[in-house]
């Protein structure tokens, strides 16, 4: 899952980012001003945008409105230090999906972020199932045939992403765009490397390759 944080307070953005990486298995991009944030939001397929309202260059609400004007349905979690009902209503009316007032508890931010990401994939249940594999997105634990499996971070990210879109053919570009942040260096074969690692763990037929299109987790055999 890939998250964009638009927050002018660099330290806060970095803290939230590190928390999301560690606790929600997310790739995180940070933008510290409005126009840059909007540009990033429009040019990358984020699973969630954490948006501060007070931004240099462009108001957060403005950014939100333009994002929705451009037809993007990316879930947006609004952060604001203003907690008047009017501010909250305005934020939600302009297309925000949820809001948090500063100062907030990190745990709450993480929970809301996870819920919003799931909602983006139409998965209200925090536990994703693909055949014998069960993925608890809240605790990041994976069980395979009733037994707990410990996965490295990148393998978990890939599995979670494929499970979110279980039964769909997911292209390699999609995978790279959702698993890596802007600054990560990716090699052309990283996806193959992690897919084969997962196949080794859960059996070769867990993830099927559709030649020329991508990968499918679970679902019916063609």
């Amino acid at each position: 899952m890939r998250v964009l944080i638009v927050e002018d307070e660099v330290r806060l953005a970095r803290n939230i980012g590190r928390m999301l990486q560690a606790e929600a298995a997310c790739a995180v991009d940070i933008s510290t001003d409005g126009p840059d944030g909007l540009h990033m939001a429009l040019s990358n397929p984020y699973d969630l945008i954490v948006l501060d309202l007070m931004l240099p260059g462009m108001d957060g609400l403005d950014l939100l409105a333009r994002l929705r004007d451009a037809g993007r349905r990316t879930p947006v979690l609004v952060l604001t230090a203003r907690d008047t009902t009017d501010d909250v209503i305005r934020g939600l009316d302009l297309g925000g999906d949820d809001y948090l007032t500063k100062p907030f508890k990190m745990k709450e931010l993480l929970a809301r972020a996870r819920a919003l990401i799931r909602r983006g994939y139409d998965r209200p249940d925090p536990v994703l199932r693909a055949g014998p594999i069960e993925i608890n997105t809240a605790t990041h634990t994976v069980t395979y045939r009733g037994r707990k499996a410990l996965l490295p971070a990148m393998e978990y990210r890939l599995l979670e992403y494929l499970a979110m879109r279980a039964g769909e053919v997911v292209s390699k570009t999609d995978i790279i765009e959702h698993l890596y942040d802007f600054n990560a260096e990716t090699f052309s074969n990283v996806v193959e490397v992690y897919v084969s690692a997962l196949r080794k763990r859960f059996g070769a037929d867990t993830i099927r390759t559709i030649r020329g299109q991508g990968y499918v987790l679970g679902g019916e055999e063609p």
């Binding site: 002018d8 330290r11 939230i16 203003r82 100062p103 990190m106 745990k107």
Partner: protein
């Protein structure tokens, strides 16, 4: 004593006016009626007096004159009630005097008051009363060969006086009734007239703070005279609303400014506590949080300063201050601070100016300006402080740095509370957004002015104009003496 209520004042005024008018009309009417009634008698008495005067002149014996007089004073239409007396001044006996049928002389003809005596050759009319009977009396004096003759003729006027009394009674009754009616109806009418005032009052007394915003009086229909009042109140409400809105905005901004470092500190601590970490990581987190606490501390101090200034009126404990000396002190105070950043603060030309004001408050102004110049000016740049006379009876201090960073559209807002040219940059440098607002408030209290000029890329200058209490020559004189 409290002045009478408007209702009573108006009522009393109306009653007073009606009383005066009714009184004047009644008095005029009475006098005219009286003149009409008594005028008849007066004309008759004049004719009789003139007739008698022609007889007195001739040298007739008294008895003959008396007979003539009796004949003359016989009124064809008023009977014989007329009395007369004719005498020559100085003579012991009268020339003629009427004797009524009952033989009793009218005593009042012999007891005439000398004060009523007309001048020689003239005639005078007046009223006398004798035993419930009223008389109209003519006293005529004329010079004759035998001396100064007096003719007095009195005609009964009881009938006329009774009529006049009736007229008087009628007028009093009508006038009194009119005044009473005015008192009752006038008061009622006045109350009716001031009812719109009560309507407005009731409406205003029901207004609460929550009604300030939405033009609560727009639907209040009042008479034209009250429109200015209602409009004035409406404008007052608008001003109050604006002030309240400003206060709300300020509180909201203050909360926002406090929450930002708080959320920073919180996120840092939560991140540090989320997983076991190296000691160095914890130390870094603690230092970051300490920085956040410093920022909150500074902000709270500035908020308190602003609140204190807002609470006081005018300038407390004003003293004469040598502004140049005070600026020298400030420059010395910031010397080390500037050096630590690789820059410098220097005092330029400081004219010996004296201003009257609160030393602490003015000190705060220049501290804030120097803070501002050092924080936002280019790192390692020089800051220069100058002080010069003018314009007029004032002096202007300038704090100039080498940064030309201010966009023109920011200049008018620079002194607004919590205004920031570019929020991310200012936040990182730790400004509270209140320093310049405090400076402006203090300078305005001192009757001065603060503004900023900026030439892009080269320098930014803050100007503080303060009124001088002494001009240069005076001070030079004092300094020498």
């Amino acid at each position: 004593m409290r002045p009478l209520s408007l209702k009573w004042r108006l009522s009393l005024l109306v009653i007073l006016v009606v009383t005066v008018v009714v009184g004047a009309v009644s008095a005029t009417a009475y006098l005219r009626i009286r003149r009409t009634y008594l005028g008849h008698i007066d004309r008759m008495l004049t004719i009789m007096g003139n007739a008698l005067a022609t007889k007195v002149d001739a040298a007739r014996p008294p008895a003959a004159l008396e007979a003539e007089a009796r004949l003359v004073t016989q009124s064809p239409w008023r009977g014989t009630g007329t009395h007369f007396r004719v005498w020559i001044a100085g003579d012991a006996a009268d020339l003629a005097a009427s004797v009524p049928p009952n033989g009793k002389k009218a005593a009042f003809l012999w007891n005439l008051s000398a004060a009523r005596r007309p001048d020689p050759g003239e005639a005078a009319f007046f009223d006398v009363q004798d035993k419930q009977k009223h008389y109209r009396l003519l006293w005529k004096r004329l010079g004759t060969a035998r001396g100064d003759a007096n003719i007095v003729i009195a005609h009964p006027s009881s009938y006329e006086h009774r009529r006049l009394d009736e007229v008087m009674a009628t007028l009093l009754l009508v006038g009194g009734g009119l005044i009473l009616a005015t008192a009752v109806f006038g008061t009622w009418l006045v109350r009716l007239g001031i009812r719109p005032i009560r309507k407005v009052t009731d409406r205003l007394s029901r207004l609460g703070a929550e009604d300030l915003g939405d033009q609560r009086l727009a639907d209040l229909v009042v008479s034209r005279e009250l429109e200015p009042l209602v409009e004035a109140v409406e404008r007052l409400l608008e001003r109050l609303d604006a002030a309240l809105e400003q206060q709300k905005q300020f509180a909201s901004d203050a909360a926002h400014e406090l929450r930002t470092p708080l959320s920073l500190a919180r996120s840092t601590l939560e991140l540090a506590a989320s997983q076991p970490r190296q000691a160095a990581d914890y130390r870094a987190a603690v230092e970051e949080v300490l920085g956040d606490l410093d920022r909150m501390d500074r902000l709270i101090a500035q908020l308190l300063t602003l609140a204190r200034i807002d609470r006081t009126r005018g300038v407390p404990e004003p003293v004469d201050i040598r502004l140049d000396a005070a600026l020298h002190e400030r420059v010395a105070e910031y010397h080390a601070c500037a050096a630590a950043r690789g820059g410098e603060v220097t005092a330029g030309d400081l004219a010996p100016c004296v201003v009257r004001g609160n030393e602490k408050m003015l000190g705060l102004v220049f501290r804030n300006l120097l803070d501002n110049a050092l924080t936002y000016g280019p790192a390692g740049g020089a800051v220069r402080v100058d002080l010069a006379y003018g314009p007029g009876q004032s002096c202007t201090a300038t704090v100039r740095d080498e940064g030309g960073r201010l966009p023109p559209e920011a200049l008018p807002h620079l002194f607004d509370r919590f205004y920031r040219v570019e929020s991310s940059r200012s936040r990182r440098t730790g400004g509270s957004g209140l320093g310049l607002a405090i400076a402006r408030e203090v300078v305005r209290r001192h009757g001065g002015d603060i503004w900023v000029t900026s030439s892009p890329g080269t320098q930014t200058t803050f100007h503080v104009r303060l009124p001088c209490t002494q001009d240069a020559d005076d001070w030079a004189g004092t300094a020498q003496g």
